[in-house]
Symmetry: none
Subunit: 421 residues, 2 copies
C-alpha cells in the first residue's frame, strides 16, 4: 500500500530569516507519522504572493495533503488567505459563524470587536472553516480532486489545537492510512550508553516489525518503539509484550509512557499514596514548584512552597538551624536536611523536598564550584540526600536538578507503594 503523502508549507519571514526556530513543522510531521501519513517535504517561504502560489502548485503536484501554517494575521503583510482564494479561484466573503466566533472571543475578554479583527471573519468561499477556540484567526480546509489543503495559524498552541481536534481526525477519515503504532517508554536516572548495555539482550531480540530508537534528554532517556503492520490492536499487543520483557531488565528506571512527564508521574504516585508534599527551593528558584503545579489537579497533593533566596529567610521563615548554615554554609548536607524537614512542618505536609546549590554562571568557590547542588527528600521516617555536581549553565543546572529531585520522590514513593500493595 502506497503511503499517503503530506507536505508542510510554512509561511513567514521570521522563520525564513532565522529569527525564530520552526518547531511547528517538527511537531506536525510527528503527528502525521503517528497516523501513517508520510511527510515528504517541508518548505518555508516568505509572505510573497508569487512564492506562496508557486509553493501551493508544486506541493499539489507531489502530495495528497498540503498543510500550511502562518500568514493569517489581520494585518496587511499576511497573504495566505487572499492567496488561497486566488489559487482556488474563489471569492472572499463574510462567514457568519466565523464572525460569531471572533465576536465571542473578544466579548469573553470584555472587549469590542475592532474593524481590523472583523477582517478575520472573512474567508474564501471555497473553504470550510476550522474553528479557533483560543485565537482570532480561523483555520481553512479546502478539498479539490482528492487533495486536501489546510491553512492554520502559525501560533503554536492554536495550530496544535486545530490539528488535534479537527485536522488529524478528518485526515484519518479521508485517507486509508497504513497502521503505525509508536510507544514512548520514559526512563530516568541512567545514561543512554549504560541503559543500552543493560537492555542489549532485549534489543537484539526485538521482532522484525518493531524498531527501537533512543531519544536522550537532560537526565532522561526516552525509548521509542515503532511497530508497523495491518492491525492496530495486534501491534499494541506486540508492543506491550515487549515492554513487559523490557521491565525485567530496566523496570526501575521507567517512570512513564508517551505524554507522561516526571511531574505527572510523581503526581500520580502522590495521589495513589494519599500523601501531600511541600517544597523549599533555593537554587532552583521555583522551577520544581512550577512543574508540580503545572499538573491539573495538583492542589490535591501540593500544599505549598517557599523560595528563601537568602540565608536570613532560611533561618527566620523556614527556621533552618543557624548553626547548620553558619557552620557548613547554605549549600551543605546539614542545611538541606533542615530545609526538607522544616518545609514539611511549615506547610503541614507528609513529604518535604528541598534544593540548595550554586546554579551559576557565577558564585562558585574552589570547594563548592558552580554546579554544586544538594537535594533532599524527607517524610518523617526517612531523609534522603544527594549531592549533584553539574555544569556552568544556569538553565541546564536548574532543569537537571528538578529531574533529579523529582526522581528522589519517585523512588521513595515507589518503595512505599510497593510495600503497601
Amino acid at each position: 500500500m502506497a503511503r499517503t503523502k503530506a507536505e508542510i508549507i510554512t509561511i513567514g519571514d521570521e522563520i525564513l530569516y532565522g529569527q525564530i526556530v520552526d518547531t511547528n513543522s517538527q511537531w506536525m510531521s510527528q503527528e502525521l507519522d503517528k497516523v501513517g501519513i508520510k511527510t515528504v517535504r517541508k518548505t518555508t517561504i516568505s509572505d510573497e504572493r508569487t512564492d506562496i502560489l508557486g509553493a501551493f502548485k508544486e506541493a499539489e503536484s507531489r502530495a495528497d495533503i498540503i498543510l500550511i501554517t502562518g500568514g493569517l494575521g489581520p494585518t496587511n503583510d499576511d497573504l495566505t488567505k487572499p492567496c488561497l482564494a486566488e489559487y482556488f479561484d474563489s471569492k472572499i466573503a463574510l462567514d457568519n459563524e466565523a464572525l460569531a466566533e471572533v465576536t465571542e472571543f473578544f466579548k469573553s475578554k470584555g472587549l469590542e470587536l475592532s474593524d481590523i479583527n472583523r477582517q478575520q471573519a472573512f474567508l474564501p468561499e471555497c473553504c470550510v472553516r476550522v474553528p479557533n477556540k483560543i485565537g482570532t484567526a480561523p483555520g481553512m480546509w479546502v478539498e479539490r480532486n482528492g487533495k486536501v489543503f489546510v491553512s492554520m495559524p502559525g501560533v503554536p498552541h492554536e495550530m496544535k489545537m486545530m490539528m488535534e481536534e479537527v485536522v488529524i481526525p478528518k485526515l484519518q477519515d479521508i485517507f486509508n492510512t497504513e497502521v503505525i503504532f509508536h510507544k514512548l517508554i520514559k526512563t530516568v536516572g541512567i545514561g543512554e550508553s549504560w541503559l543500552s548495555e543493560e537492555i542489549k539482550v532485549w534489543e537484539d531480540n526485538l521482532p522484525e516489525h518493531i524498531r527501537l530508537a533512543y531519544l536522550p534528554s537532560l537526565g532522561q532517556v526516552k525509548l521509542r518503539l515503532t511497530a508497523v503492520g495491518d492491525d492496530l490492536d495486534q501491534l499494541k499487543a506486540d508492543v506491550e509484550e515487549q515492554i513487559a520483557i523490557l521491565k525485567t531488565y530496566a523496570g526501575k528506571y521507567i517512570y512513564g509512557y508517551d505524554r507522561d512527564q516526571m511531574e505527572t508521574a510523581v503526581g500520580d504516585l502522590l495521589k495513589k499514596s494519599g500523601k501531600t508534599i511541600a517544597l523549599a527551593e533555593s537554587c532552583t528558584g521555583g522551577y520544581v514548584t512550577h512543574l508540580i503545579t503545572s499538573v491539573s489537579g495538583s492542589s490535591k497533593y501540593f500544599q505549598g512552597s517557599i523560595v528563601p533566596y537568602h540565608n536570613d529567610f532560611k533561618i527566620n521563615v523556614l527556621k533552618v538551624d543557624e548553626k547548620a548554615i553558619l557552620g557548613h554554609g547554605a549549600v551543605s548536607e546539614p542545611t538541606i536536611i533542615e530545609m526538607a524537614n522544616n518545609v514539611r512542618k511549615l506547610f503541614n505536609a507528609d513529604i518535604g523536598i528541598a534544593t540548595s546549590g550554586i546554579a551559576g554562571p557565577t558564585g562558585g568557590t574552589p570547594e563548592k564550584p558552580v554546579g554544586t547542588i544538594w537535594i533532599a527528600y524527607a517524610d518523617g521516617n526517612e531523609t534522603v540526600t544527594k549531592k549533584l555536581q553539574l555544569w556552568k549553565d544556569r538553565t541546564l543546572n536548574i532543569k537537571a536538578t528538578a529531574v533529579a529531585l523529582l526522581n528522589l520522590v519517585r523512588i521513595s514513593l515507589s518503595k512505599t507503594i510497593e510495600i503497601k500493595d
Copy 2:
C-alpha cells in the same frame, strides 16, 4: 539593486519525520542575512534520489546560491554526493587532499582509516573541496552559470565551521551583497490590532527602505524593523530615528529590544531602582518566581517567594486576614491586596507582588469561571490590582498571568525611575 537570493536544502529523514528539530537552517539564514543574502526558501526532503535531484533543479531556477546540508555520511543511505555528481554530469574520483585530511583525522584519534571512511575522500570531479577540520565528510563547492551550490555535513558544528571559515567569506567575494539591519522592538500590554491602530501614522510614514512586521505572542507583540541599504551605520541611525518617533506613539508599551525578555527588563529596572522584590504566587504556582530567578544575578534583587496553595497557609504563613478570605474568597481583590502587602513584609522586600486565581481547567464557579485571576503590586506607597479574565487552558493562563504581573511591576517601576531621573 536586486538582492542575492539563497535557498537552503536540508536532506534527511530524521528532520522530515520530526525526530529532531532543524536548527541548522535557522542559523544559516541568520548568517546569510548578516551579509545581505536573502534566504527565499528552505526545503527539507528525504534521502531519495529523485527528491534530491528535483530539489536541486527547482532551487537553481530561483536562487543564486543553493546551500545543502545532510546526506554526506559514509553509509549507503546517504545520497547527496552521487546526486551532485549526477546533477553536474561529473565522475566521482579519489581526491588526494581529502584522503590526506581524513587519514589525519583518524590518526589524530589514534585510529586506522577504515574502508568505509576511505569513501569520504572520493568526491565529484566538478567540486572544489571545503575542508572539514572536525569531522570526516568534506564539504563540496560547485559553480555553474553564475550559480553556486555548496554541500555541507548536517552535523551542526561541522557545518558552522565550514560556513564561517570558507562559505560566507567566499560568497561575499563573489556576490556584491547588500547590507541589512534588523531590530526587534518588544511591546507588552496591548494586542496586535490595537497597537497597529495606535501606530498607524508612524507605520504609514516609514521610509521606503525600512519595513515593519508584527510578531505576536502570548500577551506581547514584537515589532521587527528591517532596513536595507549600502551603509550599516546609516541604517542603524535610520532605525534609531524611527524608534524615537515610534516611542511618541507607543513608548509606554515598549519594554525592550532584540533579546530582552520581560524578566530581564524587570530585573534591569529593579537593579536601576535599587529595590528588592518578593512574590506570593497562588495560581501561577512558582512560575513567575522561576522566570525572575532564571536571570543570572537575580539574587541582588529577589528576596524570596511563597506559594501558599491552600487558604490555611495564606492565613497562617502569609498572615492574610481571615476575614478577607472567608468574606470574599481566595480569588478576590481584598485577598490579593493582603497577599502582595504581606509577602513584602515576610521577606523584608521593597515590592511585593501576588497572584490568585483559577488556572483551570477545572475549579470554576458561575461567578468566578476558570480563567478568573487577580494580580497585585504593592510597594508601601501604592497598591495596584488587576483582574484578568483568561481562558480554560492551565498552561496559557499561567504564562499570560506571568506576563501581566511582570508588566505591573514594569509600569510602576518605570514611573518611579522617571520621577527620580
